[in-house]
């Protein structure tokens, strides 16, 4: 059963939205690396989830994992749609603006350097590792939830997360 649009937003969906809006955007952004596209896909993912609330099965995972799975499919469909034009259409983050946005209080020079290294390290990761970092660090999903989102086993998800974190740590210390 699907809720009609004339019905008020359910409290549960409202709570899910408030809890995950920023995290979902960060995850989609990590996949697409295009702010405008990430906003559209994030909105589309929430809309899909809203219309498919009745289809959510708690026995198959958490609501967060379900929502991130929807967002992942929407983002990958967007990547497919863009294909090679993605690079031309992408609107990469302005490092200076991003630094200003993310770290206006980076009064510590060492911290600023360290965070710049982290951003550079994230850029060096391959898309799948970057996705895992986003799911783990930005979205705060458990390994079981990551496994649900990616359609893999929990152990495999843990192994991949560990490998991605190891790669990120090395990438952060690698010379730029």
């Amino acid at each position: 059963m699907e809720l009609s649009t004339s019905e008020p937003t359910t409290a549960r969906f409202d709570a899910l939205y408030r809890e995950t809006a920023s995290e979902l955007f960060a995850y989609v952004m990590a996949l697409l690396r295009d702010r405008a596209a990430a906003e559209d896909v994030t909105a589309a993912a929430f809309e899909r989830a809203y219309r498919r609330q009745a289809g959510f099965d708690p026995e198959r995972g958490t609501q967060r994992a379900w929502l991130f799975g929807i967002a992942r499919n929407a983002a990958l469909d967007e990547l497919r749609r863009r294909k090679r034009t993605a690079a031309l259409l992408s609107d990469p983050e302005d490092p200076d603006a991003s630094a200003a946005a993310h770290g206006p209080h980076d009064d510590d020079g060492e911290a600023a350097i360290r965070r710049a290294a982290v951003r550079a390290g994230l850029e060096r990761l391959d898309p799948r590792e970057r996705e895992l970092i986003a799911l783990k660090f930005h979205a705060g999903l458990s390994n079981a939830e990551i496994a649900d989102v990616l359609g893999i086993s929990v152990a495999n998800a843990g192994t991949r997360v560990h490998r991605a974190v190891t790669r990120l740590r090395k990438a952060c210390h690698a010379p730029s």
Binding site: F25, V41, R51, L76, L79, R80, H102, S153, V154
Partner: protein, 387 residues
Amino acid sequence: MRRRDALPDPEVVHGLRELEAALAGEPTADPDLALLVADVAAARPEPGATFLASLDARVHAGFPRAEETPKHGAPRAPWHVRLRRPPALVGGFAVLLVAVVVAIGIGSAHREQPPSQSLGGSEVSSSSSSNGAGSSAEKAAPSAPGPSTTLSATTTQPQRKVERAAALTLTPAPDDVQDTADGVVRETQAAGGYVQHSDVATRDGGGDASFTLRIPSARLDDTLARLSKLAHVGALSQSASDITAQTASAADQLSDARAERQALLRALGRATTARQIASLKARLRDNRSEIAQRKGTLDAQRRRADLATVAVTVEGTGAPAKGEDGGGAWTPRDALHDAGRVLEVAGGVALIALAVLAPPAILAALALLAGRTVRRHRRETALDRSG
């Protein structure tokens, strides 16, 4: 749905434990990892205030349809979801299926039951033929089967002569053979006919009988209907032959013979010699016998048309007697039987429908599965290429 695989490496387990501690902000966490967590968190892209405000509004409005298509397009619902939306489609299909089941059930019931009685498992046939050269016997001869069908050759066109015959097999319960045989005789007499031949043999646990009846043709249909009510009808066949030409021929020959007699009598009156008189008397004798023979032939032809021959066979095969089966009023037992029959037909239809629909359904399921696999593969490929 989570998948199972081998336990992770102990080093991985340890690393994950440290990571979880760092993510949880525990004081015992690895300081480097804690710093990394903080730095990655600081690098997290945040949605713009304008976007969040817009999304807030849409969420609170319940994503109105008019705004369903954003710049990059809200994904259109997949075909299988769209297919599920119009309940009228499903309802229409269900109504169509029910109509087919009912139509087949009714059609099947009509095939097996004549209008006036139940002939479950019986054979009913009819045939007609014409012996008259150049006659229009086909028009006069009946062609429709069934005891209640009016074979109107002898009634609507009395100038035509049609010989009718029928063969009826009754299959009462073994103990009812004698009663059925008595009923056959009773109904024959009631119809104004007679039993030309009968052979009844009863024994423990069964019996059989055979009759040759002569029934007035005009009452044949009614009599067959009454005979059919005596027991379960195993088979019924009827035939009709146009004998108008033979009858007319016999009548003409008789007329000729009578005309010849008149001529001979006139000649006898004019005869003057004894020899002529003797000769004419001899010819009159021959003519008399010829008239008798022709008259006999004509009477036989008329009897063939007036009296139908009905061969009745009674076989005690154990089929339920009509009396027990409720051949009269529609009883709860009949209802139970009919309900069983409807279920039987419905089951048959469902089985056929399953046989018809199963292959395309399996193909559709395989196509759906393949489509999902391909789509998933393409998505993963798109992610790999996005780097």
